[in-house]
Amino acid sequence: MTILTGIVYPLFMTGIVQLTFPSKANGSLIKKDGKIIGSELIGQKFDSSIYFWSRPSAIGYNPIPSGASNYGPTSDTLKKQVTARRVLFAKMNSISDPLAVPKEMLFASASGLDPHISQKAALLQVDRVAKARNLNAIQKQKLVQSVKNLTEMPQFLVLGEERVNVLILNLELYKIDQNITYNK
């Protein structure tokens, strides 16, 4: 039984999926100029003004090991963090009402590796990113369009939430803004 469930089963499954879904089974890695720059599914830390920001993370997007803050609903530490994040996000993106900052930008995710933010949170950042990159009006328009194009709708129309993959969106920036090379 140990041999069957512990060796044959995982080996057999690995064999099958390596043939059928090779890219996904190996972590949906994204390469650029031959170098691995990350995985489509694993969020990265973005806090520079030239990028769309990802969600706060209790582990700073370092996946070894994954995890969350585990602060309780009445934690004062969490309260302080939420207030600070709200103020910072509103200030950086020139949002007049701090209460309008989308929820997911205030709270750290469960895995600490959440690759997504809401469409609203992405759109709110367009002005700031465009300004930091000196984009002209046409490029900025393109950027808004990219955010909309890259928005993943709920799966099969009903499952899950509408969302935008931050890493993919930031990669899209290089198509719009040819002047800046990546890994800068």
Binding site: T2, Y9, G27, P65, S66, A68, G72, K79, L159
Partner: protein, 561 residues
């Protein structure tokens, strides 16, 4: 709107597919013809031949129990040794050291008891070899053990004047080959198609867009995740469990994993109906579970969407993933705690106070609302016996269940099974609250700190395995306390259940008369729900009042800690 549709799809599928799976499993375990027999019947035969199992030889309750205990004992020892020697074993791609003795003890106990409490973090503690040969194997066989025990109990209740309760080895082999393995194969494929990883390559170094280095862990995860969900195990390949994007990449994978963790337990109720030749009784049990399940979801959703006056936000996203949102996080948290699964897609520690309480209360009831694979059904049968007994006392007749008299011996065993987990939760929590080693692990203060401790021991006693993960449980104190808690919570019930199976099997079946208390109508459903809630409520209301309930009211007043 979307939220409601998702919830309805989930519920409808559960109601429709449980009877179908139940019927299939009944055929498998009764040895009748079924669709998988031509496909893997040969494998079953060769397993018997290689291991010298005489599948037709039936066991009495003592032999059966002895086989269960021996099998689990050796499973425990094997897993313990694997971890202690991990550094010298193959497939250790990340060059991980041996696991500390107390963590190895805790993890071995956790996986043999089907609890799958995660004191370890997969990425940086366990090698692929240990994950596969240790954890994946126990995921299968601990679930199969649960099914085997409930089959023995069912045979005891439905057969008359006999000693024979079936053959443990045959029951276990059939559970694995015909139920767990085929479903795991399908689920693994589906999960990988969504992006779950399944590979033997070591972790990958990436240079992120902002120029920092990110180490991306990989591994044969999908095959283990599939069985961890199906077998109500719940121990993750990665630390963040099913919140990790490699473990649960998309809303669809989320739906499948969530459904996988409840469907076998739902199906087994109907398998019981086939054995007892009373579909109405099975339906009554299913309805009871369903009502308690739905009530839990309703309370939990209401609480989570409510306003948090401390953080000044409604539907907080702390410890939740964007792709799942609030609804899927809550549906999962309730589903994983009514069953004894314990995998998580959000961090329960950060749930609103009453949502956290619903999860905790589900476990305190003893994991009987669908419950673990096998263990949920034998758990609720214990409560049915209690209900029938109380009903019998009320009308002044000798209580009967399925035509069999319930007498002092069965009641003693029943009470033992009801008390074992309660003792662990209350006494162990009390100890943890009163010694420095227990308190120094807390991540939150105030009433939420008490909730963290209560949750840990409820999870251990209910063999659930989910956690208020802020509690640092990887200490000698907690590894040992929780380890023993899991042991008592599992075998403190299995042993009396087997004793009941043995004594009930010997009894005659009295024919149904007009004075028989019926166990297949709404009156029975209501009585059973009342008994479950009264026992659970009376036992656990005081600590819950001091933990989550008081926290809820303080939150409404805006008081933080």
């Amino acid at each position: 709107m979307n939220e409601a549709i998702q919830l309805i799809i989930f519920m409808v599928l559960l109601i429709v597919l449980s009877p179908l799976l139940g019927k299939y499993m009944a055929k498998v375990f009764m040895g009748e013809k079924h669709i998988m027999k031509p496909v893997i019947g040969w494998l079953e035969k060769s397993v018997y031949r290689v291991s010298g199992i005489k599948s037709e030889e039936e066991m009495n309750w003592k032999t059966y129990l002895y086989a269960v205990l021996m099998f689990n004992f050796f499973g425990f020892v094997f897993l313990f040794i694997l971890q202690m020697l991990q550094a010298y074993l193959p497939l250790n791609t990340e060059k991980l050291p041996n696991v500390s003795w107390h963590l190895a003890f805790n993890t071995a106990m956790s996986f043999t008891t089907n609890t799958n409490w995660q004191s370890y973090s997969g990425e940086n503690t366990l090698s692929y070899f240990v994950q596969m040969l240790g954890l994946t194997v126990q995921n299968f066989v601990s679930a199969a053990t649960g099914i085997a025990v409930v089959l023995a109990l069912i045979r005891g209740l439905t057969r008359k004047t006999t000693d024979a309760l079936g053959n443990f080895w045959a029951d276990m082999t059939r559970s694995v080959l015909y139920v767990l393995l085929p479903l795991s194969i399908i689920l693994t494929m589906a999960l990988v198609s969504q992006g779950a990883v399944q590979t033997f390559s070591h972790s990958v170094k990436a240079t992120t867009l902002q120029g920092t280095e990110q180490v991306i862990p990989l591994g044969p995860a999908a095959s283990q995740i599939a069985i961890k969900q199906l077998g109500t195990n719940g121990g993750g390949f990665f630390n963040a469990n099913s919140a990790h994007p490699f473990e649960n990449p998309s809303p669809f994978s989320n739906f499948l994993e969530m459904f996988a963790l409840i469907i076998i337990s739902g199906g087994l109720v109907f398998t019981y109906g086939h054995y007892a030749k009373s579909k109405r009784h099975a339906r009554a049990i299913f309805i009871t579970m369903f009502i308690l399940f739905a009530a839990g979801i309703a309370i939990s959703l209401w609480s989570e969407y409510g306003h948090n006056n401390v953080l000044n936000v409604s539907g907080a996203m702390e410890g939740k993933e964007t792709r799942f949102g609030v609804m899927n996080s809550i549906l999962w948290s309730v589903t994983t705690t009514v069953t004894s699964n314990g995998s998580v897609n959000s961090m329960h520690d950060s749930l609103s106070p009453l949502s956290g309480m619903v999860s905790m209360f589900n476990m305190m009831l003893g994991e009987i609302i669908f419950g673990g694979v096998g263990s949920g059904l034998y758990g609720i049968i214990i409560f049915i016996i209690l209900t029938v007994f109380i009903a019998g006392l009320m009308v002044g007749r000798t209580p009967e269940y399925l035509g069999k008299k319930i007498e002092a011996y069965e009641m003693k065993m029943t009470i033992l099974a009801v008390l074992a987990p309660a003792i662990v939760i209350k006494i162990f929590s009390a100890i943890a609250c009163s010694v420095p080693a227990g308190l120094s692990s807390l991540n939150n203060t105030g009433p939420h700190g008490l909730s963290e401790i209560l949750y840990a021991f409820s999870s251990a006693a209910g063999n659930n395995g989910s956690a208020f993960a802020g509690l640092n449980a990887n200490t000698v104190f907690y590894n040992l306390m929780i380890g023993f808690g899991m042991l008592i919570g599992r075998f403190g019930i299995i042993v009396p259940v087997m004793a009941i199976a043995g004594s009930m099997a010997k009894k005659k079946i009295t024919p149904v008369s007009s004075g028989t208390f019926r166990t297949d109508n709404w009156l029975f459903v209501m009585l059973l729900i009342s008994v479950i809630l009264i026992v659970g409520g009376l036992t656990f209301f005081p600590p819950l009042a001091l933990g989550p309930i008081v926290e809820h009211f303080l939150m409404n007043l805006g008081v933080g800690f």
